[in-house]
């Protein structure tokens, strides 16, 4: 099946594009999609533990099964240690 991947902020910059299609085996989850993308772009690997995921317009967990045609978003985490509000 094919899903649409969207990248934001530093992920978009690291990969050099903000969206692409991904071919995944049946039964793939958000985690499967993430692993595929990291394999193609190892620069994303260090962020894995803190990445946020969304499908459609809702945050989801890594184990969320994907359906063909769905859009999965990879949201980069808060920048290293900067949990202080700026305003």
């Amino acid at each position: 099946m094919r899903v649409n991947v969207r990248l934001f902020a530093r992920y978009r910059e690291a990969v050099g594009q903000d969206r692409f299609e991904l071919e995944l085996p049946p039964g793939a989850t958000v985690e499967t999609a993430w692993a595929e993308v990291v394999r193609a772009c190892p620069a994303l690997a260090p962020f894995g533990a803190h990445t946020l995921f969304a499908v459609g317009q809702e945050y989801v967990g890594r184990d969320r099964p994907l359906q063909g045609g769905e859009e999965v978003c990879f949201f980069p985490p808060v920048s290293g240690g900067r949990h202080v509000p700026d305003h």
Binding site: R10, Q57, R64, F75, D86
Partner: protein
């Protein structure tokens, strides 16, 4: 109104959006670009959003405000693109019958926005840049 925009944010326009004959107080919060962050001098900021999801989450915040405070007059705007020091990146207006409620609900809304709304900013310093995103620790719903 809950909107991602590339236009300057006006406090008057926000107040206008929540105007209500039953309102005795309107609290408007503007988040503005500071000249420093983490001790470094900021040259400009660049905001990026997932607009449809950001607008959905803003609407959720307004629903939370309605549930917690019984208020239905909330407007949230967030700007994207490159902003200079002093420009407003986010604006929230809340109208309430009494002022205390307006303050509390407005503060609640901006606190929530920082956590759940998918918006990132790149802080551009004189000697580098850094991305900052939502501070969410929420448990995904599925």
């Amino acid at each position: 109104m809950y909107r991602i925009t590339d236009q300057p944010i006006s406090a008057d326009a926000l107040a206008e959006l929540v105007a209500d004959p039953m309102a005795g107080g309107i609290c408007v919060f503007l988040g503005v670009v500071r000249d420093n962050a983490g001790g470094r001098r900021v040259r400009s900021l660049e905001y990026e959003a997932h607009p449809p999801m950001a607008e959905t989450k803003m609407k959720e915040i307004a629903q939370e405000v309605a549930e917690r405070f019984g208020l239905h007059r909330v407007a949230i705007l967030h700007r994207v693109g490159r902003l200079a020091v002093g420009e407003a990146s986010v604006g929230i207006a809340v109208a309430a019958p009494h002022r205390r409620m307006a303050f509390e609900a407005c503060q609640y809304a901006i606190d929530r926005l920082k956590v759940i709304v998918p918006i990132w900013k790149k802080e551009i310093f004189e000697d580098g840049e850094v991305w900052v995103g939502p501070a969410t620790t929420i448990e995904p719903s599925s």
